[in-house]
Symmetry: C2
Subunit: 339 residues, 2 copies
Amino acid sequence: MKLARRKAQTPDGPVTRIIAADRDGTWFDIRTGLRRHLLRGGASQDAAERIAAATVPAGLSAALAGGAAFTDVVARVLDERPGEAAVQDPVLANALDPVSYRDFMVFEEHFSFGYRWQNKAVPDIMYELPISYAGDPLSFLGPDDVIPWPGYTQRLDYELELGIVIGKAGTGLTPDTALDHVLGLTILNDVSARDIQAREMTGGLGPSKGKHFACVTGPVITTLDELPGDGLGMRARVNGETWCETTSAQMVWSVAELVAWASQGELLRPGALLGSGTCNGGSTVEIDKKLAPGDRIALEIDHLGALDNTLGEPGPEPWWPPVRERAADGTASQLRFLR
Amino acid sequence: MKLARRKAQTPDGPVTRIIAADRDGTWFDIRTGLRRHLLRGGASQDAAERIAAATVPAGLSAALAGGAAFTDVVARVLDERPGEAAVQDPVLANALDPVSYRDFMVFEEHFSFGYRWQNKAVPDIMYELPISYAGDPLSFLGPDDVIPWPGYTQRLDYELELGIVIGKAGTGLTPDTALDHVLGLTILNDVSARDIQAREMTGGLGPSKGKHFACVTGPVITTLDELPGDGLGMRARVNGETWCETTSAQMVWSVAELVAWASQGELLRPGALLGSGTCNGGSTVEIDKKLAPGDRIALEIDHLGALDNTLGEPGPEPWWPPVRERAADGTASQLRFLR
């Protein structure tokens, strides 16, 4: 099964509607399918619309939070295949509005390069635990959206990653149980501002401003039962030229291990997004290329489709924090509170 | 003004209700106050309840997202002081259910110690830019909640911080405009698992498992107009013993600068929470103390109240990722995908 969200027009502006497709590729609008089912069961128009809107809201995370109340409806619509709910050539929004976003770093070539790029040796921790940072779940874009270019960066970059979508709440999972909590996989572009990221990482926190301004997922989420277990081909194209061609089968930690580790001592919620980190060769830093405003980034993963975005024009000159004056002992000359 | 949320019982279990108090300290239930106002304007019971619930939802972030539709109601209720909406001795929930959470590190004694603790010199970036990491907005607890002790840590710790609550959306702010977007300040306990945090930070990302399992805010949010501009006394007590006594007036970057920097290239949303980082002496690592299950942590900040929590019993033994075997060249001997 594939899950996505389409854009639909209403008198109050555009809305997103959850759609699903079986292996044959026909998309069905799930809320429409449920409303039709409720009407056939004797519901009034008002009641059918009210129940359908509550069960199949605009957000996929909110829908998944309904548990079987949502997943049973999806399964039934794909089984009944109601013509009224079929959608031709949907315009896709971002498939997932994640409730949280944690990005790991499990592709060896990429992280080895990354540490060398920071003049550091690869630390042992990379082979001891999957490490991660949290991103901003509110800054997600979808297919064909323009990626904003913050005024504070000269070096905007894409990162081609696997996105792991949690479908069912879980905590204290093991690799044997973890995949039961995964709805499916999607393409993830963890957009990065390399210059500010490199500076932030000298402090050992984050990254933060280097990452939080934008992230892209989609176009669809493909459930695990439709995916081969031995790896997916991954490609990045910039303005039509192939800049990366690799496979997902080169992870130091598996999808099941990442989910299991993320769930220790925490509740993974439906709609949580875990990123794999950049695949080998999956950003411009390690291939010594640079992006420019207007560049077209196309990320493809077998069975997950293609995620296309254009880079926007640089934003306005930002306010930069003034560098602090320091006393002879290296400490700040002046301390502050509100202003 | 102070804003908080109280716990109320219903036939369907406990709910949270937004309350506010003026300088005299009397709390008013804002939804009740609005419902009463609507009834006096001729609304039916049903309509008054429906409009009041939509305008003053259970979550403070959702309420703040209404803009003036919410803040005007709060101001009117505190002006009208309706007896029906007055609340005696409310049982407080976490004041804020943040939409996002970013924690800075701006207290010099704490970060200097932190770097030394990691055998590192204080990097120049600490005086060039405010750096930060993102935490999990879904793991927030409130006053009197038991702080979970993950099974993967031997070294649980508190961090006494200022929490900065965004009240009005903003992007591209400067220190001159930033404070207009701040609703107020609250106490923040950025709970930390020191052993796993220290290991994660050798990789330069995050921290993640060292932080995301829990965070505490509350008990109230005090608006800036009620706060002195020259600093707030901050204290931490463990089992009644004072372990930290300091002031908020020792920040390398001011509240206004943190908000302005956070807003560059990003939309800060109502309900976003920014942390100051640990105040000087505000965690156990730099005072060479250790916490144990059952310890009572009381964090106090002048004008913001006291935030009391007890540490829970250690959780179950976690699943630990097996350390990866490595070939002679240091790379992983086996790579993976799903399992």
